[in-house]
């Protein structure tokens, strides 16, 4: 496993890696060193919640059972056995510091203590083993070795069915004085690990009016997100940055605080609030990372006015570069790919694809567009309106007719919500269907995506991390009757309103970004280059 970020020095790493590869037992000193490091890690983690978190505990199990005393050969098998257990074990984290406090005891006593502790753990694990819910799919299965330097934790928003994670979230929100939004309705079991909110129960119900904890611009933004008034990855990022500009303008540094640290802390509850209103998109996440970095990089001797001016300037530059100019560049590249007589298929309403088609039309390319739409959002209608307003010749079908219409199509242009590090394209639900059918008909699929939407996550299916929209959107009234009105009363019925899905890179022929036209598999290269730049 390529576990990066080893805390040890390079030469020790080689030794240990060699030892691992040879399958030999690590030498006493190496193991001692490892244990010490893990103890330190454990101590720092101790300062956080006492509640167990899954992965880390499982991997820390070998570490916690260790003690400053040199180990015996009986240790590794005992360690490996519990670590191979599938269920997460709440490890008594208090053991490690208590062990560290008694270096004066003799080795035999420490060994005895350790054994007793292990017995206790195994006993408690037997009781609690079946309580903890099974690991969510896609959980990185760490090898039961002692080299667990960086712990990969699952994000909170995909662990909704884990009551401990929920409790942690509730505590965090309480600390930030943000109300907790409760889930609504019965969730389909495959997606029960995701949040599902109702649009009729906005978060502002639990906030006071006027909002004092959260800046009014952020409350307004959160409302617009949850009601769908600002929808679409680009629009959401721009609106977010606009709101942040207002926050920065209204911000005053409290005495004895530094702007670079305090402003970042001020933004954290706002981000939690927006996350509660609607889960953040990858583009928003990248924008937030950028802003936080810019804020932290403000030198401490910088005066407040100048710092604010710099930050506002940074935000403007970011939007200009990453969104406006990127759109222009992508349009330029795409127009080369559009030839006269083309029949272009688009899906849903992607601001970038609309922009490209409008630009191409202005450059006098002759083509016609087929807009494919799907329920319940029916965003294609908005795309249709914008294209027809320009004068482009359009056809409108629903996604169920896509295999009927595809023989006419020469190219498929898709927008993306995010591009994942393994080349998968995350986009509106239905996109992978279109890409699949297009592949079956040998129609080229081009995905247009700005580089700021590239995300370091890796996903191969649409289940692990997704967004569940309001299930009541699926209810429709036709000719006076609303069939699904009382869906909650039917015990075995669940309404599922997915928002995103992932398309494998085999179905995508080309990705058009502001850096040029790249194949889907080059996304990690772009990410690496971006990281080096920053």
């Amino acid at each position: 496993m390529a576990d990066a970020g080893e805390p040890e020095g390079p030469e020790r790493k080689d030794d240990i890696v060699k030892a691992k590869q040879e399958g030999k037992e690590l030498t006493k000193e190496e193991k001692q060193r490892l244990r010490k490091e893990k103890k330190q890690q454990k101590k720092s983690k101790e300062k956080k919640d006492d509640k167990p978190s899954r992965d880390s505990e499982k991997e820390k199990k070998p570490a916690s059972a260790a003690s400053p005393a040199p180990q015996t050969p009986t240790q590794p098998p005992a360690q490996k056995a519990p670590s191979a257990a599938p269920a997460p074990v709440p490890v008594p984290a208090s053991e490690t510091p208590s062990a560290a406090d008694k270096p004066a005891k003799s080795k035999a006593e420490l060994k005895a203590e350790r054994r007793a502790r292990q017995e206790a753990e195994r006993a408690s694990k037997g009781k609690k083993g079946d309580v903890g819910p099974q690991a969510a799919p896609g959980k990185p299965k760490a090898p039961p070795s002692e080299l667990q330097p960086v712990v990969k934790r699952l994000p909170e928003h995909v662990q909704v069915d884990n009551p401990e994670v929920l409790k942690k979230l509730a505590k965090k929100l309480e600390r930030q004085q943000i109300p907790l939004r409760s889930d609504y309705g019965y969730k389909v079991s495959l997606f029960s690990h995701l949040h599902q909110y109702s649009r009729k129960a906005p978060l502002t119900q639990q906030l006071g009016i006027p909002s004092t904890v959260i800046h009014p611009a952020i409350v307004r933004l959160g409302l617009q997100y949850s009601q769908g008034i600002v929808a679409g990855s680009n629009a959401r990022s721009v609106a977010l940055l606009h709101a942040f500009k207002q926050v920065i303008r209204d911000y005053t540094t409290p005495p004895n605080e530094e702007l670079s640290r305090d402003l970042v802390n001020r933004l954290k509850p706002y981000i939690s609030f927006l996350n509660q209103c609607r889960p953040l998109s990858a583009s928003m996440g990248n924008a937030i990372k950028y802003i936080k970095k810019e804020i932290s990089n403000i030198p401490s001797q910088c005066k407040e006015e100048e710092a604010k001016r710099k930050l506002l300037n940074c935000i403007d530059c970011y939007i200009n570069e990453k969104i406006v100019l990127a759109a222009k560049a992508i349009a330029k590249y795409s127009i080369e790919k559009i030839s006269d007589g083309d029949v272009i298929l688009v899906y849903g309403c992607s601001s970038l694809v609309n922009h490209i088609l409008c630009e191409a039309f202005e450059k006098n390319r002759k083509f016609r567009v087929i807009v494919v739409d799907s329920r319940p959002r029916l965003e294609g209608r908005e795309a249709l309106r914008r294209l027809v307003q320009k004068g482009i010749n359009c056809t409108y079908v629903l996604i169920s007719a896509v295999s009927y219409i595809l023989p006419e199509v020469s190219k498929v242009f898709l927008g993306a919500h995010a591009l994942l590090a393994n080349g998968y394209v995350m986009s509106r639900v239905g996109t992978s269907q279109i890409a699949l059918v297009a592949k079956a008909f040998n129609v080229p699929v081009l995905v247009c995506c700005e580089t700021y939407k590239f995300c370091e996550r890796v996903q191969t299916d649409s289940f692990v991390s997704n967004e569940l929209d309001d299930p009541d959107d699926l209810i429709v009234t036709r000719t006076g009757t609303t069939q699904l009105e009382h869906w909650q009363e039917v015990p075995s019925l669940g309404l599922l309103n997915l928002v995103y899905d992932v398309t494998p890179p085999d179905f995508v022929d080309l990705v058009i970004t502001d850096l040029g036209m790249i194949p889907c598999t080059s996304v990690p290269v772009v990410l690496r280059v971006k990281n080096v730049d920053q």
Partner: protein, 455 residues
């Protein structure tokens, strides 16, 4: 700061002069609390910490002595006094406090009793960046007989015609019956943009408005508008659909303004034009415009125009379907409110300091105020008795409202009446559906009073 609350408590109660003869409307007791307490409680529950109260000196004096106001209201009240007799409309009052207003405002009338979830109104205001958001409610029928009025004759209430769009949230048309002499005419520009309009007449305006700060600035420049409900709101609703002319930028030099005025095509010097620009076509900040362009949302469909039809001035209304919402501006409303308001707030039926003798029959719907003295063999059903009232033996009180400081001598029979403060009802009087004014005295052994009205 997001919203500043403004409470209009200077109204005279012109439709119930009998009650407001001595007591200003804002301090009339409803369920043994002053009327003003209810909107203040609503604001407090919502989380407001400061309220600007516009009222008269008399009310301010009464406020400072009233125990309920001092104890229960924990917000900071910034009381602004205006002349009592001056014809100051609500918009004039806003103009008066323009200096205090720093952000968008929430205007509440003092006679509103409701438990609406205010976030519904404010969310419309926030989410759509609206210029005006207001609250309306389906009107309730008043079932109680109004004392002092013979028969069930209702004064001709002027109806309000309210037009909303298909979603029921956007306000398209608002006019009072009095202004529609020849009939209801709807401009074509409205019909083109909103082909489906629902016109409702059975709605009660709660007089709760969220207004943008730009509107207050507009009022300051525009002295001809004096009432919010009567003039400002219909004006704003109309202006949603007026053609957006090329307006100069907001901060213009004086010379430019004069020049533009002279360039008017018809030569009509329209002083309103420039002020309108403040609220009609305030340009969106470029980022906000970019976000709106990139967003795949539209508030309507079927035509080629963008969201909101490109209009910057938007008025929204939240119509309450259920839940109490009363405006206590007529006698009937006052009686109804007295019946229902205490239930809303789970008022303790008997104030702890009241002295009630053992052999008094008290119904569960009755509310007794502080320091009352109720003697034996009295029967009190469905009534509200104010503070410091004395009720002697063998008195039957049913369906009545008795205000503070009243003395009811023995053997009286009071039904369906309203007895104002400090009145004295003589021994053995028999009152049915009467309205007894302030400080009046009903002679003992009074004959059958029926539907009488003593000012």
């Amino acid at each position: 700061m997001e919203l500043q609350a403004v409470l209009m408590a200077a109204g005279g109660g012109s439709r119930m002069t009998d009650l407001t003869y001595n007591t200003p409307k804002a301090m009339l007791p409803v369920g043994n609390k002053p009327l003003m307490w209810y909107p203040l409680n609503l604001l407090e529950r919502m989380g407001f910490e400061e309220v600007i109260v516009i009222t008269t000196k008399e009310v301010q004096k009464m406020m400072s002595t009233d125990p309920k106001m001092k104890l229960d209201v924990k917000m900071k009240l910034d009381v602004v006094c205006i002349q009592e007799d001056g014809d100051m409309g609500t918009a004039d009052a806003l103009r008066h406090i323009q200096q205090k207003i720093k952000t968008d405002i929430l205007v509440v009338s003092c006679d509103l009793i409701t438990d609406v979830a205010l976030h519904e109104v404010v969310d419309l205001f926030r989410a759509h960046n609206a210029t005006l958001a207001m609250l309306m409610s389906k009107a309730h029928e008043f079932t109680e007989t109004v004392p002092g009025q013979k028969g069930k004759k209702k004064t001709a209430e002027q109806r309000d015609f309210v037009g909303v769009d298909q979603s029921g949230k956007r306000l398209l048309f608002m006019a009072n019956e009095a202004d529609l002499e020849d009939g209801l005419s709807i401009r074509k520009s409205i019909m083109r943009k909103h082909p489906r309009m629902h016109i409702k007449t059975g709605l009660v305006d709660a007089h709760l408005y969220c207004l943008k700060k730009a509107v207050v600035d507009f009022l300051a420049d525009n002295k001809s508008i004096s009432s919010i409900r009567g003039e400002l709101v219909p004006y704003l609703v109309r202006k949603q659909f007026s053609k957006t002319t090329n307006c100069p930028k907001i901060k213009d030099d004086a010379e430019d303004q004069n020049q533009k005025k002279n360039d008017e095509p018809h030569g009509r010097q329209n002083p309103l034009k420039l002020c309108e620009c403040f609220i009609i076509s305030t340009p969106n900040s470029p980022l906000l415009q970019l976000a709106q362009d990139r967003s795949c949302w539209n508030d309507h469909r079927g035509d080629m125009s963008e969201a909101y039809h490109g209009g910057k001035l938007r008025c929204y209304v939240h119509i309450m379907d259920e839940g109490p919402c009363y405006r206590v501006n007529t006698l009937a409303a006052y009686i109804e409110a007295n019946r229902l308001a205490p239930k809303l707030f789970e008022e303790v039926p008997v104030h702890p300091s009241a002295v009630i003798s053992e052999r008094c029959q008290m119904g569960s719907d009755s509310y007794i105020g502080a320091m009352c003295q109720i003697a034996d063999k009295t029967s009190i059903k469905r009534s509200t008795i104010g503070n410091s009232t004395t009720v002697k033996e063998k008195v039957k009180v049913a369906n009545s409202i008795i205000m503070h400081g009243v003395t009811i001598e023995e053997g009286c029979n009071i039904q369906g009446s309203v007895i104002c403060s400090n009145a004295v009802i003589g021994r053995g009087a028999d009152l049915k559906y009467c309205l007894v004014g302030n400080g009046q005295q009903i002679e003992p052994e009074g004959k059958d009073h029926w539907h009488e009205h003593t000012p």
